[in-house]
Homo-oligomer: 332 residues x 2
């Protein structure tokens, strides 16, 4: 049995999803000779540490009852720096202003020789190259499948499944909230404000929807793709961004009559990075509806490969994190 110890830094929807996924996969993992042992969990109010392995069921229950996992006052950095383990799962919320606390957590992990698996877009959208170099300098893995596309494995697809191909360009829908709003506006011929309210009531849009509807979230994801795939040193501020707030039901109806839909499309290639509403033919592979995410990858040998799936959700994001953990377990 290969025991791999990990910490979960940030215990919101994603962190809890990871704990649930590890619990539900215990048998499958044991069958593969793998024991994933969580030795530290932290949230904004404190932390739990157990070098012999935290009881994840109790931790989830306590979080539900008390709003925190904390049984002690140790900080995230205390766990990362002082508790022996191999993988840090960094799942604190995205902060696009300065990337904190994610950036400090990831840096501390690399500097103490730990692999990082993350769903946190902020630090990667702001200083990808710096983090990548820190990982390389310390000889550890830096995996971030969960930052883009939720359950859709875009990075693994490009770097592993399409290895040997040169990527020429990428276009896609990387934000489920705006896709939901545009889909509902088109299908029900409803105005933007009304559909946004509906999405907020359903928990698909946040109370402050700015990051989604203004295209900031899409831009962050596009920058992470560009940095990872094209080796660019871009920040999300380099993206030419237009949101969806000015789109009218009339525009969508006109598009529909001509067999088009309007989608918030992210595009990378030829050195340019753009997020903007675009006309997409109804039969086009990018014309996916609801909260779905999709990416079309244009390559030199394989041609265009399109992949789609659920772009968000606690367990879907946990799926990507778990795949990254498995990659590290298999390759370290």
């Amino acid at each position: 049995m290969k025991t791999v110890r990990l910490s979960i830094i940030g215990f919101g929807a994603v962190g809890q999803g990871v704990a649930r996924a590890i619990l539900s996969k215990k048998e499958m993992l044991t069958g593969q000779g793998i024991d994933l042992c969580v030795v530290g969990i932290s949230d904004s109010k404190g932390s739990e540490i157990n070098v012999r392995g935290i009881d994840l069921k109790s931790a989830l229950e306590r979080k539900k009852q008390k709003g925190t996992v904390a049984t002690g006052n140790e900080s995230a950095l205390d766990i990362i720096g002082n508790v022996e383990h191999e993988i840090v799962v960094e799942a604190t919320p995205t902060n696009i202003k300065n990337g904190e606390p994610g950036f400090s957590n990831m840096s501390a992990a690399f500097n103490s020789g730990k692999h990082v698996v993350t769903s946190n877009k902020g630090p990667l959208a702001l200083c990808f190259s710096q983090l990548k170099e820190a990982a390389e300098d310390n000889g550890v893995f830096f995996r971030y499948e969960a930052t883009v596309g939720g359950a859709v494995p875009i990075f693994n697809l490009i770097h592993e499944s399409l290895a040997g191909n040169r990527v020429i360009g990428i276009e896609g829908i990387l934000n489920g909230t705006t896709n939901y709003i545009l889909t509902r506006m088109a299908e029900e011929r409803l105005p933007y404000d009304l559909v946004l309210k509906e999405a907020q009531e359903l928990g698909i849009a946040e109370t402050d929807p700015t990051y989604d509807v203004e295209g900031v979230d899409s831009a962050c994801k596009l920058v992470i793709i560009a940095n990872s795939v094209f080796g660019e040193a871009a920040s999300y501020r380099d993206v030419d961004v237009t949101g969806i707030t000015k789109i009218t039901p009339e525009a969508l109806e006109l598009a529909s009559r001509n067999n088009y839909v309007v989608k918030l499309i992210c595009e990378a290639g030829n050195g340019t990075l753009t997020v903007a509403p675009r006309l997409v033919p109804k039969k086009h592979p990018l014309a996916v509806g609801g909260t779905m995410n999709v990416a079309s990858i244009l390559t030199d040998l394989a041609g265009k490969i399109t992949i789609s799936g659920k772009g968000a959700g606690s367990i879907e994001t946990a799926s990507s994190i778990l795949s990254d953990i498995m990659y590290i377990v298999r390759n370290s």
Copy 2:
């Protein structure tokens, strides 16, 4: 520089595509510290062997001029057994009756401690478990991404990118020829015979189209998926198969008026294997047109992930073979 020696067994469209891909990727591979050195090529008329590396440009030119790569009489089995190398690229034509010569070539490769990368469906549709066991017994890799979906990396996606997920079921369109015929029949309201003739003239359908239109090709691919993903010991004879030859333009028009298209759908899951024409909603992710292939993979964590791309073509199939070669180079 890591030198990896390979043989290309079978030098038709796929084998030549592999040679062209290796040639065109020389610089990229060198940049990654990899030297792919082809030491043997065989076709039905003979072979070329050069332990210091075959000049692929000359080999391709000679094949074009003379119809064969042969500079000597050594057989495929001579190369596999007697020439030192690490990877056998088995690209002989699919034979669904007894899997030969592919089965013997792959067995010989495993028994002499060589990894196998193949595009040849026959042996895998007939005796997958036997080949898999031979590979495991000899501690070598057995990679077959190119057998299903052309350029679409279905196996790598499931086994690597979605690692940690349990696959519940798979459905998809795995044959480009029938998809082309059904798409054209629906769009142009033309009868089956006429569209088949058009497809034959364009080189999309073979002179004897039986394997494609009767669903045999789809069934072979479905069996390979079932064996690889679900660990079944199925043969293509276990698949419940209905082809597309009895579909009329009237049926397609009726479907279209109700917002459906008809597609030859392969389904695996719950222990059943089916290939049959199915009604698919026009907006459904499986409703891809032309010669495209598509697969929807239903998983326990990631939900449904759908991937589509070119299902055939010399260079597209070579893309999958090259990705498999890269996997072996990185993991051996």
